[in-house]
């Protein structure tokens, strides 16, 4: 299940192997990468954009750029690379609609995992990774979690959240910060490591 597990190389090609085959023009490699990442990309784009056509466009753009770009994303993590592209692409679409994107835009530049494929989170399957993040998020107090989700997936500004919840702006800032601190702590705890995610 895990594409980067060394012991499974013979049966499951790694992202790096697939990417090299992709660059060599092998359609089978493109299909394999698509099977592996398209549902993640499309699911995230759909969550942010709430528009199937736009999510399709983002998905298509990302895979075409993977095919054509000289940059080798497998020097880091392909999963991180495509999710970052997904958020950036979705943010671009939202910007085109004229939405308020200040915080979301800032977050769009953050790589999900800057620590590369050797990090613990890259060594687990997407399903497991996804489950751990959802669990971690579930441990965060409701208002903090909702604030994070509204900003991350909804493109809401802090001011808009403050207006919606009828609380001071400082409270929203605090929710977001505390929520993120707890998310980091929960992820660290669920992975059982000494700090590396």
């Amino acid at each position: 299940m895990n594409p980067d597990e060394p012991g499974q190389k013979q049966t499951t090609p790694t992202d790096r192997q697939l990417f090299q085959d992709l660059k060599a023009g092998q359609t089978s490699a493109l299909n394999a990468l698509y099977e592996r990442y398209a549902p993640i990309v499309y699911g995230l784009a759909l969550q942010i954009l709430k528009d199937a056509q736009e999510a399709e466009d983002v998905t298509q753009d990302i895979f075409i750029s993977l095919c054509k770009d000289e940059h080798d994303p497998t020097r880091g993590s392909l999963g991180s690379y495509v999710t970052t592209l997904t958020r950036s692409g979705s943010i671009d679409k939202m910007r085109a609609r004229g939405g308020k994107l200040k915080l979301l835009e800032h977050w769009g530049q953050i790589m999900p995992l800057d620590t590369g494929p050797s990090s613990l989170m890259e060594q687990v399957s997407f399903e497991e990774r996804s489950e751990r993040v959802r669990e971690a998020l579930g441990q965060i107090p409701e208002d903090q979690r909702q604030a994070l989700e509204l900003v991350y997936f909804g493109g809401f500004s802090q001011v808009e959240i403050a207006q919606q919840y009828k609380v001071p702006l400082g409270t929203v800032k605090s929710w977001l910060r505390l929520g993120l601190v707890k998310l980091r702590q929960q992820l660290q705890s669920s992975l059982g490591n000494n700090g590396s995610i």
Binding site: Y42, T83, I110, R129, V133, Y152, K173, S196, I197
Partner: protein
């Protein structure tokens, strides 16, 4: 964790979120200057926020998305093919090689170029036991055209040299085909400059174990021709 470290955690979170006040940003900068290891924590918090990307349920896109991507991928690689399959080599070296091929095998077509004895690489290639030489002769309106192909079957390399070919219109491309059991198999494509072309080309894998009976050059209307439809401009002679 002390109150101080909680405060630092919040500052880092605020920094990652982009919602620090100027005085808070300054405070964090000073803290990081005193404890550079805090940069690691910044990276971990960034990574934690980035993992939000994995929260939505994966959803398979409609099949048309994959079809569109595949089409684009195939078109892209077809357009890249000449760059990856052919490598221009120096005129001097290659014309010597073409001349050597012609002189040694047929004395045909390229005899106005003299073989230079110091070019040991050419000699070495021609001395290989598994080298094949093909002379190419123009046909019909291209009767003045000529050339040669030398193949090193061990190294799976070949050199093509042609001259006096007519200039083609914009979308047309010269294609070299290997005839195997009566079927033309794509070998390479090339462009000419002032009627000439010299290219070192890798032997396509599908020809590694094939018995090539002859070679043909055609002028194809489009670069991506999977099989020859254009007129033959050069054919190999026995």
């Amino acid at each position: 964790m002390t109150a101080s470290s909680e405060h630092i955690q919040e500052l880092i979170a605020g920094y990652v979120l982009g919602n620090l006040e100027p005085e808070e940003a300054e405070e964090l900068e000073q803290l990081i200057a005193q404890k550079p290891e805090l940069n690691n924590e910044v990276e971990h918090v960034k990574a934690s926020l980035g993992l939000m990307a994995y929260v939505p349920q994966p959803v398979s896109p409609p099949s048309r998305v994959q079809s569109a991507i595949l089409n684009e991928f195939q078109e892209f690689h077809a357009s890249q093919e000449p760059k990856t399959l052919t490598r221009p080599i120096s005129w001097r070296w290659s014309w010597v090689l073409a001349s050597a091929a012609a002189a040694l095998a047929f004395g045909f077509g390229l005899d106005n170029y003299r073989l230079r004895s110091q070019d040991e690489s050419v000699i070495a290639m021609l001395q290989q036991p598994n080298t094949r030489l093909f002379a190419l002769r123009g046909t019909g309106s291209t009767v003045r055209a000529s050339g040669g192909v030398v193949m090193d079957l061990d190294k799976q390399d070949a050199v093509l040299a042609v001259q006096n070919l007519p200039a083609l219109s914009g979308t047309q491309t010269y294609h070299l085909w290997a005839v195997v059991e009566g079927e033309k198999v794509a070998f390479s494509r090339f462009k000419t400059t002032e009627g000439k072309a010299v290219e070192k080309i890798p032997l396509p894998p599908e020809l590694y174990n094939s018995v090539i009976s002859s070679l043909v050059v055609t002028a194809e209307p489009i670069a991506e021709s999977p099989s020859p439809v254009g007129p033959e401009v050069l054919v190999s002679v026995l």
